[in-house]
Symmetry: C2
């Protein structure tokens, strides 16, 4: 009976599946040879700089001067790899391999090398003796590759650096990817991290009909770098309960006996795969009852450093934390250790594994699946190859009519929500929104017109926009949302992560690490560009009026600014039309981190769609209608702004000056693309010095009102002409439960502060300036009186404090 | 039989315990009255600005103009609070209450008010009608308090803003606190976060003999703000498995029937407490077998918005997500809703709960434990009250002899490790080191001479420095380490979190939120200062030679710089003696975030202990021995530095200039306290402009070599005289697997770059400058050739690349 999985290329027959579970001698020999070869190459990478095939007796000059690398986890990783490759050969299953214990880098590099992929993308590292030597030497060496799985490792979408994200990456990879199986190996060290523990629940959001499958393999070998792990040492019964509680059907394999472990692991993997196939088949042929499947999970308990030296100098090594990194140290100076290393290497019988040229023998080559089915060559792990552009609606069609600037208010993100709704409709196989619990609250709820939120646990009649078929991803975990989107992006699909500004810091390290991945990938010609990671920050510091200080923090901008210019993008659209234009640009872009910051509350609208498009294309521009600058000569002062609330205050300050000090020449500059401020040598968006001077002059003081921490602007304009003249107002960590307008007052960024700043720093002052300053001071005094003493006047405080200058002006 | 718990003040007798489990009518009446009163006050905070006691019919003018707050979780939080208070009254148990569902703020505020604590610390919010009105009006209002549990809430050590940390705070609070019980309520929304899921395992590190106990209460009410939760909707059998798998003995209470729920919750709490008491008694009287106890945990399933309106406009509300925030909206404009609100409020029978003055009646007052046993008044939740200074050894006794600067190398953190060892010995009840898996690797291993690492799971003969009695905390989770230390600090004890520099970003949001807590606390006179949060970053960007780019990121400095000057401290000691002096200062300080950055590898030593003390006291100073500045007039160039590796490069650059361009007057300035660079108005450590000018002159160019991202220095010196003249070298996100010296080359921060920078920017150039520039260029060319092409020369590359200028100079 041929599998009838809809849209799948899998063609395994039942008899194959039975064969899968039972290894015959030929298959066993092939598997074991491949495993021995991979272990040999792993040890070679850690130790050898010569004599790679052990064609001569091992001597000290063959040993690297500095021994680096992680042996402990590697044999287990290789065993799993070998068995999954066999599964692929039998079933045609498309699979990728994510190595949570990322420091097993040499094992994964070796696997790509044995499969031929490594030599295809790095021809110098050829499948012969010279190439093998290069493979060994490059490992953990200057100019070479890191000791962990990294961007340079073919077949990887998962850096083995910061631990905790292997499952989120795996789940993101298989969403809307029905034919893909993601093998996610979780190390027992990584299993202690919060993000990992919070990611088992991916199954509660995975639809077996439309999504692919994740097969987690919890690889328990008992130890971390210098001590035990919690799961490694817990009563196995507790571990079983835990995983069953997470929703899995636990299959266990334990031991170190050979070939017994091969037989048992083959049976376990066959059982797991069959269970996945059954779940998917039922979901796709209509026989599924709709309840969340209990997906399989394998717990593999094998000794740390398995097949390594049992004892060194009389001390147990294999099976203990001592084999975590380099089990035999001081090999260059200790003849006994050198002899032990040689015995250890020869125990894999390299002469059987590599031919006279140094190439893997046929037995080993035959173990690899064909072409793109090799996990190291899977296009899913080089997702740019599979990326199709989004079918985007015309963003202009969501435009808000803005006949005159700063007259009406709108919830800008609501327009983006409408655009996202239509992107969902047009791209049902390649776009998702990820949001921790706030899609509606962030005013993006229009998307629910066309898609529910995914949820595979019990649904009740009172649930709204919740269901199995939902493709909007909501889970109260920034780590899950961010990581799922990364996995989705890296396998070639598009999306957006929308979250509270302050709590974007929860996943800041993921933003950093994904940025590093993208930066590294740009140096590798074989890595095709992937969709950008789009991050929308709403519910911002300035409008968190009832939540207070813990909800007020624009720190992620600062974090993104630390990244290189070839990936970091920060946009602060002040209104709906600029937001739409920016979003359209971001959805089309590749391999960037696009950070978009805009609040969800009703806000003034400034630009018509045509104006918005032009403004966004430039990234920054003079708003002549807001100022009194006639453009013929330098103004007396420049009021610049970036961010929605601060733009409103700046425009209001300019209006006060226009009305009350008309002789002052005020120029208003709005910055929507923050990176235009940087010098062109530091960022490709950096505006030329000519343009910079056209906007900001050479020497007129600039009062820059910024959404985030002022230090961001200080660092961005550093090196620009007379940067000292930039006086920055922004969020200076003055927050509390208060009105939006009071937030601007507390942070010395209110319209009145800006007017006073302008007067204090203008090149030339018309008569009346002192009076205006006094008036501003009195306005602020009045405000403080209201806020502190007159809570009974709340409605008035609120109307006034909302700072609706347009209504009053 | 009286309890014989060592060191405990608990005096419950067995008959009391039986009484605990069974509520008589008097107790039931008291509990229920208190609960009704607390619910009433919760709703009052959300809705009322007048008529607080409903002495007249409710009308629209009594309703707040804007309805904010979270009702849904509150009744459950209040029920738990009431029952724990009763437990305390019966047993004398010291307990604190941590509300994971932090948006149940009004419930916790109400509890403090009913217990009298609120009025004690905020006399305006008195226990009478006027005070109650103030209580209502301040909630979620300008000038008032946030809608979530916050620093202003008496009895809290846990901000209900960013979710995920309730268990880490609870576990940290009870470490070395044998008499304390931390009640940690976990909401089912919070339970979805990674940090929370990663924190159940605290029991694997809790010693029942020396530590107190955490009683987690998983409060499942099924929904978040607009949808269901995973644990709320999972098969209860799975939830049971999950929690059993985490190591708990699960006690379940479910329903909405009254008084049934009171009886059942009382029995559950009595069972949990008895189990805790039995575990502790056994551990403390010697009858414990040493295996990890199975601690109790309560799962409480109660309807969301329990006791609220069942339906509104025909739509179910109570028991659904619709009751998450404000179940009745539009009350001002909708007479039916107004009537419903009035009926709802009157259903609690306020006239029975408050006397004619508005004070709680005796029945309710009697429900509260006495004095400091009230959870809202616990000194453990205002830990500064309990803080005792550390008994610190003389840090000078760990000094490294430095007869001449920059001649010898040492692992500086190893000296700190010796100091920490002795701090452990002297402060066995109030100091802990928290580290994700790297204490030894970070060269702090001397502490293992006097303490093992805590571990309550199975220990094997191969384990070293692992055991039940250990007090060094290692778990592969930055979230756990950081959060435990926060809980430990906030209850008045001292410690240090030591971690990889790059992965400090994992817990960056915790650093931010704890900083916000400390900032807020400074405004509250009743909050006593607590020990500072000390964070040591090692394994830094510049020395992660085999790990590569994902391990290279000095981003946490940037994050700490966003915090206010009254909490943020950043130190970059360049060597061992400065590190010891800085650490001593940090261990003595209160209520700061102290960030200390120094690498663990062998590094040059510069200052004798006396010099180090003076240098650290100033925070920045001229190193005359390194430069050629005679101090009589301005130098031609200033070479400044902050950070260990960049200091070495700066000193090396100065040596090259001294030897090869002796006519150039070079001043070397080292900065150990980064905040001295800031203007005094922005940070209390900021040096005066006079001192700044003494170090950096007014107008000589400064080549500033910085450990972190250059933008940090740009923002710090902004506003200083002619800040444009600061040319900053630092980590510009150029990382890979390479030698340490190559890292400085890639980031344009090597000694040769600094020499060229100096020549390019010096005020005055002696003859020979052009030749020296050419020589520098050739040195760099030679280096690139080595790194890129001559891997076979690895030993030489390494020796040269390590940049051991002193050995060659």
């Amino acid at each position: 009976m041929t599998r009838s999985v809809k849209g799948s290329t899998v063609t395994a027959v039942e008899s194959e599946i039975r064969t899968l579970a039972e290894l015959d001698d030929t298959e066993l020999a092939r598997l074991d040879a491949w495993w021995r070869a991979n272990n040999y190459l792993t040890i070679g990478q850690i130790y050898l700089q010569g004599n790679p095939l052990l064609r001569e007796p091992l001597s000290t000059e063959h040993i690297k001067p500095r021994l680096l690398g992680h042996w402990g986890t590697s044999p287990g990783l290789s065993l799993i790899y070998a068995h999954v490759s066999r599964l692929i050969r039998h079933t045609g299953q498309q699979a990728i391999y994510l190595a949570g214990p990322g420091h097993g880098g040499p094992a994964l590099v070796a696997a790509g090398y044995l499969e031929g992929t490594y030599s295809e993308i790095y021809p110098d590292v050829s499948q012969d003796e010279a190439g093998m030597l290069r493979l060994f030497r490059q490992f953990s060496s200057p100019g070479g590759i890191p000791s962990h799985v990294s961007v340079t490792t073919p077949g990887s979408i998962h850096e083995g650096g910061e631990l905790g994200y292997v499952l989120v990456h795996a789940f993101g990879a298989v969403m809307d990817n029905p034919d893909l199986l993601a093998i996610a190996v979780v190390g027992d060290g990584e299993a202690e991290t919060g993000p990992l523990e919070g990611s088992w629940k991916g199954v509660s959001f995975l639809n077996p009909e439309r999504d692919g499958a994740v097969l987690p393999i919890l690889h328990l070998n008992d130890a971390k770098i210098s001590g035990p792990t919690v799961l490694g040492r817990k009563d196995p019964e507790e571990v079983r309960h835990l995983l069953r509680g997470h929703g899995y059907d636990v299959i266990e394999v334990e031991g170190s006996d050979l070939p017994g472990m091969h037989h048992r692991f083959a049976a376990a993997l066959a059982a797991a795969w069959t269970r996945i196939r059954d779940i998917q088949t039922a979901a796709r042929d209509g026989s599924w009852d709709g309840t969340r499947p209990t997906w399989p999970l394998i717990v593999l308990r094998s000794p740390k450093g398995w097949t390594g030296p049992d004892t060194v100098d009389g001390t147990p090594v294999t099976g203990t934390w001592r084999s975590h990194q380099v089990p035999l140290s001081g090999v260059k100076d200790n003849p006994e250790h050198l002899a032990l290393l040689e015995r250890w290497l020869r125990s894999y019988r390299p002469e059987e594994l590599f031919d006279s040229t140094g190439a893997p023998v046929a037995l080993i080559r035959d173990q690899a699946p064909d072409g793109d089915l090799r996990m190291s060559a899977s296009p899913h792990a080089n997702g740019g190859l599979l990326t199709r552009d989004l079918d985007l609606p015309d963003f202009r069609s969501y435009a808000i009519e803005v006949p005159r600037p700063a007259q009406q208010r709108a919830e800008s993100t609501r327009k983006l929500g409408e655009m996202i709704r239509d992107i969902y409709t047009r791209n049902a196989d390649r776009f998702r929104l990820f949001c921790p619990d706030e899609t509606n609250s962030n005013r993006l709820g229009s998307v629910f017109d066309v898609s529910d939120r995914a949820f595979m646990e019990r649904v009740t009649p009172e649930d709204v926009a919740i269901g199995r078929d939902g493709r909007v991803m909501e889970v109260l975990s920034e780590h899950n949302c961010h990581g799922w989107l990364e996995g989705y992006n890296l396998t070639g699909r598009h999306g957006m992560f929308a979250t509270y500004e302050a709590f974007a810091m929860v996943s800041a390290s993921q933003t950093v690490q994904h940025g590093k991945w993208l930066q590294e990938a740009k140096h590798l010609p074989w890595r095709a560009k992937v969709p950008s990671l789009n991050v929308l920050l709403t519910s911002t510091a300035w409008r968190n009026d009832h939540n207070g200080f813990s909800h007020q923090g624009p720190g992620l901008i600062q974090v993104v600014l630390t990244q290189r210019g070839d990936v970091a993008r920060v946009y602060l659209p002040p209104d709906a039309n600029t937001l739409l234009s920016v979003a359209d640009h971001c959805f089309r872009s590749r391999s960037y981190i696009n950070l978009i910051v805009i609040d969800k509350q009703p806000q003034l609208q400034y630009l018509s769609m045509d104006e918005a498009i032009e403004h966004c294309a430039r990234g920054a521009g003079i708003w002549e209608w807001a100022g009194t600058d006639d453009g013929t000569s330098d103004p007396d002062i420049v009021l610049a702004c970036a961010g929605d609330v601060v733009t409103m205050e700046t425009v209001a300050a300019a209006q006060i000056l226009r009305e009350r000090l008309p002789g002052l020449k005020v120029r208003v500059v709005n910055v929507v693309n923050l990176m235009t401020l940087v010098r062109p040598k530091d960022h490709p968006h950096g505006m030329s010095e000519t343009l910079f001077t056209e906007l900001f002059t050479d020497d007129v003081d600039v009062i820059f009102s910024f959404h985030g921490y002022p230090g961001a602007i200080h660092q961005l304009v550093h090196g620009r002409p007379d940067a000292d003249r930039f006086r920055v107002r922004g969020f200076i960590e003055q927050g509390t439960t208060t009105t939006p307008f009071d937030m601007t007052v507390r942070n010395k960024a209110s319209r009145y502060h800006l007017v006073m700043d302008a007067i204090n720093n203008a090149k030339r002052l018309p008569r009346g300036a002192a009076d205006l300053k006094a008036w501003c001071r009195s306005q602020l005094d009045r405000h403080e009186t209201y806020v502190v003493e007159h809570l009974e006047d709340m409605p008035e405080v609120r109307d006034w404090a909302l700072g609706d200058w347009a209504a009053r002006g």
